[in-house]
C-alpha cells in the first residue's frame, strides 16, 4: 500500500510538487506572520492561496481520472473511494507543510501558535483534496472520456461567480478605505484590487484573442485561438494579485525605509551629533571657538517637554545653518522648513531686543480723583529669567495731591521685562455688590512710572479684560496713564510687546493655547511672531517650533530641565575640531529610540510574505502551464503534419508571450499605482507617534517597476515555456498511435 502510494506520487510528481510548494508557502507564511506577532499579514496570502490550491487540486484530479475510474470499477464507492484517493494529496500536504515550517525556521521566527499553523495547514490540505474530488465527480463514462471539455465547462460555470465577488470586494476596498479598518482587511485589500485587475486583464486577453483569431495571418490566428482558451489565462488574476501585493509591500517597505532615513536626517539635521555638557551660552561659545568660521559645527538646544507640538522646540545657531546643514534635508518633509532657516536667522537679527530693567527700584508718581483718599495697589507684572514677577506698590493718595511711592524690585536681578499692569482701588466688590455706590471707583493718574530704569509709561497700555460690569477706563498717552478701575475694584492692563516679538518657525501642527510664545532657553516667556509654518522642521520633525539660539540665550541663566545641549556637526568635521566638545555619535541616534518604537519591522515581514505571494502567483500560472504544454506538444505535432511552417508557429508563440506579458505587466502596474495611491496609507506598518514625520506612502518607481517586472517576466516566461516544445518532442510521427483528438 505504502509502496503503491509513493510510486503513484512519484509518477505524478510534476503535478504534486507545485501543490506542495504552494502549501509550503502558506505554511511558512503562517509561521512567519504569527511568529512575528502580526498574524494579519497572513490574510492576503490566504486569499492568493485560495486562488492557487483549488487549481492544484483540479489538475491533480484530472491527472488521476484513470485511477479514480479503476477504483470505481473495482467496487470502491463513497468514503472508501475518497479515502483511497486522498492519501496522495495528504502526502503532498505533509511534505509541503514540513518544508514550509523548515523554511520559516531558517528565515527566523518567534513563538508560533501550533493551533494556528495547524489550522491553516489543514484548510490548505482540505482545499486541495476537495478540489481533486470535485474534479473526479461525475459518471464513470465521463471519467474515461479522453476529452475534458465537458468537465472544464462545468467547472467554469461553477467559477463564474468568483469574478463578481472579487470585483465587488475590490470596489468596496477602494471606496470604503479607512485607517480604522481591521488589519487583516487593510493587508488584504491590495490583493483583492490586484485580483480584480487580473480578471480585467484576462478579459482583455480574451478580447484581443478573439480579434487575433480572425486575423488572416496564420501566426496571429493560432495565437488568438490559443489565448482564447479559458485555461490559457487561468492563473493571470492570481499572478497580477500577487504582483500588486508585492509592489504594494515593496512600496510600503521603501516608504518606511525612507521614513527612517528622513527621520534620522531631520531629527539631527547633521550626520554627527555631540551631546554637550554645559549651559547654552557656553555651548554657543564652545562651538564658535572650535569652529570660528562656522564650517562644520552648529550649536543647538533641543527641548522636548512633552508630546504636544507647542512644547517641542529647538534653538539653532541659525547663522551657521546654511553652511553646516545646507540642503541636507532636501527631499524630506522638512525641506521647506529647512529652507526658511536663513529667514529665521535674518528676522531674529533684525528684531530689537526687548527693553529690560537695569536698576533695582520701582518709582511711581500717582494722583487720585474723587472726594476722599482711597487705598490703592499698583502692580507691574514682569518676567525675567527667574520667572514671572510682580512689582507692587501700595498707596493712599489724597485726591489732588500727587504721591510718589517706591519699592525694590523682586526677581529682577538679571533684568525684567514688563508684561502687564494691575490697578486696584478700594475694596473689591463681588457680583452681588458691584452696583452699590461704594463700588464706584475714582480715577488714578500715573504720571511717572520708572521700573529699574525703564519708562513704563512710554509704551501703550490697554484694558486686558473688559468685563460686563462697568469695566473702568484707561487713557494712555506717552508719559501719562489714567486708570479708572472697574466696579470689581481691579483693572488689568496689557501692553504691546509685539515690536520685540521673537520670530519662530512652527510646524502646521502647533496650536498655541493663547498668543504665540517663544521661551528663552531658560524658559522665560517671550512673545513670538510666527515667521512661517511648515509641515516639518529640522530637529523637531512634524511637531514643534524652531527658534534662533543666539537671541534666545540669556547669559548666566540656566536652562529648562528638559533642554539637551547639542553640537550638530557635518560628516567631514575634523576630529581635532570635535575633540574638545565631546564624543561624536551618529545623528540617527537622536531618533533611534522613537523610530524603533514606531517601526516594529512589520513592513519587512510584509515584503517577505509578499514574496511568498509572488511564489504563489508563479505557481498559479505554472500549475495549468504543465497541462497546456502537453496540449501544445500534441498541437505542434499536428501543425507540423499539416505543413504549418515553424516560423509561423514561432510567430504565434511570440505573440502569445507578448500579449500575456503585456496584459500581466500593465494590469500589475496600473493596479499597484491605484493601490499605492489609495490604500497604502491605511496599512498598519508604522506607529508613528506625535511629532514624528508622517509616512509618505506615495508611489516609488522601484516598487511599481518591481510589480510590473515580476508579473511581466513570470507571465512571459511561463507562456514561452508552455509553447516552447522542442522539435524532437513534437515530431508528427508521435501522432501515429497517440490516442487523442
Amino acid at each position: 500500500m505504502t509502496l503503491r502510494l509513493v510510486a503513484g506520487w512519484w509518477a505524478r510528481r510534476g503535478t504534486h510538487l507545485p501543490v506542495a510548494a504552494a502549501i509550503a508557502v502558506v505554511t511558512a507564511a503562517t509561521v512567519l506572520a504569527d511568529g512575528g506577532g502580526r498574524p494579519a499579514l497572513l490574510a492576503p496570502l490566504v486569499v492568493l492561496a485560495a486562488g492557487v490550491l483549488p487549481g492544484g487540486g483540479l489538475v491533480l484530479g484530472v491527472a488521476r481520472r484513470q485511477e479514480a475510474a479503476l477504483l470505481r470499477l473495482h467496487g470502491r464507492r463513497g468514503v472508501r473511494w475518497v479515502t483511497a484517493l486522498t492519501a496522495e494529496p495528504v502526502l503532498t500536504a505533509v511534505l509541503g507543510g514540513a518544508a514550509g515550517v523548515g523554511l520559516a525556521l531558517v528565515l527566523g521566527t518567534g513563538t508560533v501558535s501550533a493551533v494556528m499553523v495547524g489550522t491553516v495547514w489543514l484548510l490548505a490540505t482540505a482545499t486541495v483534496v476537495v478540489a481533486m474530488v470535485v474534479a473526479l465527480r461525475g459518471p464513470l463514462t465521463e471519467l474515461l472520456r479522453p476529452s475534458e471539455a465537458e468537465r472544464v465547462r462545468r467547472t467554469s460555470a461553477l467559477a463564474a461567480l468568483v469574478p463578481v465577488v472579487v470585483a465587488v470586494a475590490a470596489v468596496v476596498a477602494l471606496l470604503r478605505r479607512s485607517s480604522s479598518a481591521p488589519d487583516a482587511w487593510a493587508f488584504t485589500a491590495p490583493v483583492v484590487v490586484g485580483l480584480a485587475a487580473g480578471l480585467l486583464a484576462t478579459a482583455v486577453v480574451r478580447l484581443v484573442a478573439s480579434r487575433l483569431a480572425r486575423r488572416p495571418g496564420l501566426g496571429p490566428s493560432l495565437a488568438g485561438h490559443r489565448l482564447a482558451l479559458p485555461r490559457a489565462a487561468t492563473g493571470l488574476p492570481v499572478l497580477v494579485g500577487s504582483a500588486v501585493l508585492l509592489g504594494c509591500a515593496a512600496n510600503t517597505a521603501l516608504a518606511v525605509h525612507d521614513w527612517r532615513g528622513d527621520t534620522a536626517r531631520v531629527t539631527s539635521a547633521t550626520p554627527l551629533v555631540v551631546s554637550y555638557d554645559g549651559p547654552a551660552d557656553e555651548l554657543l561659545e564652545a562651538t564658535r571657538e572650535a569652529d570660528p568660521e562656522g564650517r562644520w559645527l552648529m550649536a543647538a538646544i533641543r527641548v522636548l517637554e512633552d508630546d504636544r507640538p507647542v512644547s517641542r522646540r529647538v534653538y539653532l545657531d541659525t547663522t551657521r545653518y546654511d553652511r553646516v546643514v545646507g540642503d541636507r534635508l532636501d527631499g524630506t518633509a522638512a525641506s521647506d522648513g529647512s529652507a526658511r532657516l536663513s529667514d529665521l536667522g535674518a528676522a531674529a537679527a533684525d528684531t530689537d531686543p526687548e527693553p529690560v530693567t537695569t536698576g533695582q527700584r520701582m518709582t511711581a508718581r500717582l494722583s487720585l480723583d474723587g472726594p476722599r483718599p482711597r487705598p490703592l495697589r499698583l502692580d507691574v507684572l514682569t518676567v525675567s529669567p527667574s520667572g514671572a514677577g510682580r512689582q507692587t506698590v501700595f498707596a493712599r493718595p489724597t485726591p489732588g495731591t500727587p504721591t510718589v511711592v517706591s519699592t525694590d524690585l523682586t526677581r529682577c536681578e538679571s533684568g525684567c521685562r514688563v508684561t502687564g499692569m494691575e490697578v486696584a482701588i478700594g475694596v473689591p466688590c463681588g457680583s452681588d455688590t458691584w452696583a452699590q455706590p461704594r463700588c464706584r471707583r475714582p480715577a488714578l493718574t500715573i504720571s511717572e512710572l520708572d521700573l529699574g530704569g525703564l519708562d513704563v509709561l512710554a509704551r501703550p497700555w490697554v484694558l486686558a479684560e473688559p468685563d460686563e460690569r462697568p469695566p473702568g477706563e484707561v487713557v494712555a498717552t506717552p508719559g501719562r496713564l489714567r486708570v479708572r478701575p472697574s466696579s470689581a475694584g481691579t483693572s488689568y492692563l496689557d501692553t504691546d510687546r509685539s515690536p520685540w516679538a521673537t520670530p519662530v518657525l512652527a510646524t502646521t501642527s502647533v496650536e498655541w493655547p493663547d498668543e504665540p510664545e517663544a521661551p528663552t532657553t531658560g524658559g522665560m516667556a517671550r512673545p513670538a511672531r510666527v515667521l512661517a509654518t511648515a509641515e516639518a522642521l529640522p530637529v523637531v520633525g512634524a511637531a514643534g517650533t524652531v527658534l534662533d539660539l543666539s537671541t534666545s540665550v540669556i547669559p548666566g541663566t540656566g536652562a529648562v530641565a528638559r533642554a539637551e545641549p547639542l553640537v550638530l556637526a557635518r560628516a567631514d568635521t575634523p576630529d581635532s575640531v570635535l575633540a574638545g566638545l565631546g564624543t561624536a555619535r551618529p545623528g540617527s541616534e537622536l531618533s533611534r529610540e522613537v523610530v524603533d518604537a514606531a517601526d516594529d519591522g512589520a513592513a519587512g515581514r510584509f515584503v517577505l510574505l509578499a514574496a511568498g505571494g509572488a511564489l504563489l502567483g508563479l505557481l498559479a500560472v505554472v500549475i495549468p502551464a504543465a497541462r497546456l504544454r502537453r496540449e501544445r506538444t500534441h498541437e505542434r505535432a499536428v501543425l507540423r503534419l499539416v505543413g504549418v511552417r515553424r516560423s509561423e508557429q514561432r510567430a504565434a508563440g511570440r505573440l502569445q508571450v507578448v500579449v500575456m506579458a503585456l496584459a500581466a505587466g500593465l494590469a500589475s502596474v496600473a493596479a499597484t499605482l491605484l493601490v499605492v495611491g489609495t490604500l497604502s496609507d491605511a496599512l498598519p506598518v508604522l506607529a508613528a507617534g506625535p511629532g514624528q514625520l508622517p509616512l509618505d506612502t506615495g508611489p516609488r518607481v522601484l516598487a511599481i517597476l518591481l510589480a510590473g517586472t515580476v508579473a511581466t517576466v513570470l507571465a512571459g516566461v511561463t507562456t514561452w515555456w508552455t509553447g516552447h516544445v522542442p522539435d524532437r518532442a513534437s515530431l508528427p510521427a508521435r501522432l501515429r498511435e497517440e490516442v487523442t483528438t
Binding site: 490559443r226 504549418v644 515530431l731 501522432l735
Partner: protein, 218 residues
C-alpha cells in the same frame, strides 16, 4: 498485388528496413503508383502504420529509402514533404480549433488565403456530410465525426500523395462508402492513395493490394 513500376509520380519504398530496437520492417520494397488506390493490409502490429510513416517522411528508415517523384520523403526533421497528406488513425486534429478551422489550416499552411481556405474547408466538410459541424470545437465531436474531419483535412489540400491509416475504422457503412468514394476520386485525379486497413471490403475495392506481415511484404 504489388507493383514496382517506378514511374514519375509513384511513391517508392526501396529495401526499407526499420529497426528502432526490434525489427519492425524488414527489407520492404514496394511501389505505390499514382492514380491508383492501394490497400495496405495486415494484422495488428504487422507494420502498416510504420510503413506509412516511412513512406510519408515522418520516420527515417534504418536502411533503404522512400522516394516520391525521385526525391526522398524523409527530409531530416520528421516533417512530411508538402506533396504528402495524411489521414491518421488517431485523427491528429487540433483541439483548440473548430472542425472547419482544422480543415482550413491545412490549406492556410499552403498559402491559401483565409477566406478561400474557409470556403474550401466548408465544401470539404460537406463532402463528408458534416458541414453542419463546422463551427463545433473538435473536442465536442464523436469518434466518427472526428474521423470524417480528419478525412476532409487530408483530402482538401489536393496533395499528390494521400496516406490514410484506417480512415474508416469508426464509420458506419454509409459513411465508409462516402469516404471510399472520396479516396477514389483522389486517385482518379492522379493521386497516390494508400489505405492501411483491416477491412477486407476495402481491400476488395482497392486497385492494388499490398499485404504485410511481421514487417515483411507477404
Amino acid at each position: 498485388m504489388t507493383a514496382r513500376t517506378n514511374a514519375d509520380g509513384d511513391l517508392v519504398l526501396d529495401h526499407v528496413s526499420y529497426q528502432p530496437g526490434p525489427l519492425l520492417l524488414d527489407d520492404v520494397s514496394v511501389t505505390f503508383p499514382a492514380g491508383r488506390v492501394t490497400a495496405l493490409s495486415g494484422p495488428s502490429g504487422s507494420g502498416k502504420t510504420t510503413l506509412l510513416s516511412i513512406a510519408g517522411g515522418l520516420v527515417a528508415p534504418s536502411a533503404g529509402s522512400a522516394t516520391y517523384d525521385g526525391r526522398e520523403t524523409w527530409q531530416g526533421d520528421g516533417d512530411p514533404p508538402p506533396e504528402i497528406a495524411f489521414v491518421l488513425q488517431v485523427y491528429g486534429l487540433v483541439p483548440i480549433l473548430s472542425a472547419r478551422e482544422n480543415v482550413a489550416i491545412a490549406l492556410r499552411a499552403r498559402g491559401v488565403p483565409w477566406t478561400d481556405a474557409s470556403d474550401r474547408a466548408e465544401a470539404a466538410l460537406a463532402r463528408f456530410d458534416i458541414a453542419d459541424l463546422g463551427d463545433r470545437q473538435v473536442e465536442e465531436l464523436s469518434g466518427g465525426q472526428l474521423q470524417r474531419v480528419a478525412c476532409a483535412r487530408g483530402l482538401v489540400v489536393g496533395a499528390p500523395v494521400l496516406l490514410a491509416d484506417e480512415p474508416t475504422s469508426e464509420l458506419d457503412q454509409g459513411n465508409v462508402a462516402v469516404v471510399l468514394d472520396a479516396l477514389r476520386a483522389e486517385a482518379d485525379r492522379g493521386c497516390v492513395v494508400v489505405i492501411a486497413t483491416h477491412d477486407p471490403a476495402i481491400v476488395e475495392l482497392a486497385d492494388l493490394h499490398v499485404a504485410i506481415d511481421e514487417g515483411r511484404i507477404a
